[in-house]
Amino acid sequence: MPNLQVNSLSKRFQSLQVIKDLSMGFSPGQIHCLFGPSGCGKTTLLQLMSGLLTPDGGEIRGVENSTFSYVFQEDRLLPWSTVKENILFTLKGLSLSTQDRMERAEKYLALVGLEDFKDYYPGQLSGGMKQRVSIARAFAYGGDILILDEPFKGLDFERKKSLIDYILSYLNRDLELNHLDSSKGPDLNKDANSIRASDKDGNLVLSSDLNKKSDLNKKRPLCFFVTHDVEEALYLADQIHVFTGPPLSLVNQLNIIIPPQERSREKEKMEHYREMLLNGKQ
């Protein structure tokens, strides 16, 4: 996957200049956190990236032929379709057999723990469950670029944490599969085991060998993640880009080199990152 490059990008809504002459780059295969206050233009940047908006000026390079998995701030599910139909709806455009589509839908519903709810309608689910369906939809589609726009808004801490773990296991699972066994088809139980395995010796894969890591990163989808919550950012991101605005402008960039699985143990180092993030914010 090519480097994603933003070149002197501009976007205006009526009298509000949301993005003005923004230039920056995003390295491939990483989890990028766009961090900043509400309304500073982060969502606009993502909408420009995914082609939902067209820029007034400038360009974004490296996204031309990419597919996107987008988790919106709202769940955006079809209210008249069941959970499973909602996921199948986005898979229709992919060149897959009906059988494969069904399997994919069920597999990712299982990943977010909703396999028993596949025939429910969104109106019958809680807000957190709907958001999980929306995440399962994004995973099942398997876009080159995964965009998560404040996906945990209004969810309690436990729910949030388990969703973040789903996302990490989704991103790392692809990595694990490519690394360990690319010939065998994905098996659900085996997947679950390999996720746990990567939790334990994930540092072997992720941090001991930096060259191997960057090699694997190329196969991992690029992930963008919007938040204004410090804990979320520190828990999930590889790189944190701190913004203010509007107009959207970059004030600080942090690289967190500790793998997410180890962050709860590395309290002191994380405290250091937290301070950097909070100071950058001011």
Partner: protein, 261 residues
Amino acid sequence: MKDFIIAKSKAILKNIGILLIYLLIWQLVYSLVQREVYLPSPGQVFMRLGELIGEKSFWQAVAMSMYRVVWGLFLATILGVVFGSLAGWSKFCYSLMHPLVVAIKSTPAISFIIIALIWFSSSNAPIFICVLMCFPIIWTNILTGIQSVDQKLLEMAKVYRVKKWDIMQKIYFPSILPYFTAAIITAIGMGWKVSVAAEVLSHPRHAVGSHLYTAKVYLDSSSLFAWTLVVITLSLILEKVLSYSLNKFNERGTKHAEPSS
């Protein structure tokens, strides 16, 4: 299923009860007025209705009036859906059609009836009136339905590169369907009213309206009431049949979406 049947029969009993209350009020008012020309008693009206049902001309009139209304509604629906979709799709089409629809809506039905009498045969004039009066209802609701489609769902479909036809089928159709159903129900009531009114003025050989006209000429209030009840009943039957089949269609649509594996 059993519970469903019990609930259904309870609902029917309740409706019969409500009907009896209104008949009682009618009878009471009749006893107060005591003039059959002003208000015939329910008994007389139902007697007259019984007589009418036995006549061949009754069934001919009912069949022909029903035929006109169904044709009128059918044409109005086709036109309303086609032009309503065009108006929803393009701003220019909307600007072009909007004044026309507003004009049709605010023109008194009687003006159209008179011009239709000049343009068409006495049997076809009511169909024309029915089309003209029902078209704006369908047009407006289809347009509102299209405008109410959730932009956020459309954005979602765009990001996931869902095909146009799937977007039509799974986002547009289900969003518009409730508006369409409401439009059809309103149009049925309107269609009966205006086409019977047109029949009264054009009096075709077989028509409910023609019998109403005769009742007026002879100051035959019982017949007037009996025929009016016939119109109400026919309108309700048509409404039930159409809303039932629309619901069936809707259910089939969601079942159809479930892939067979």
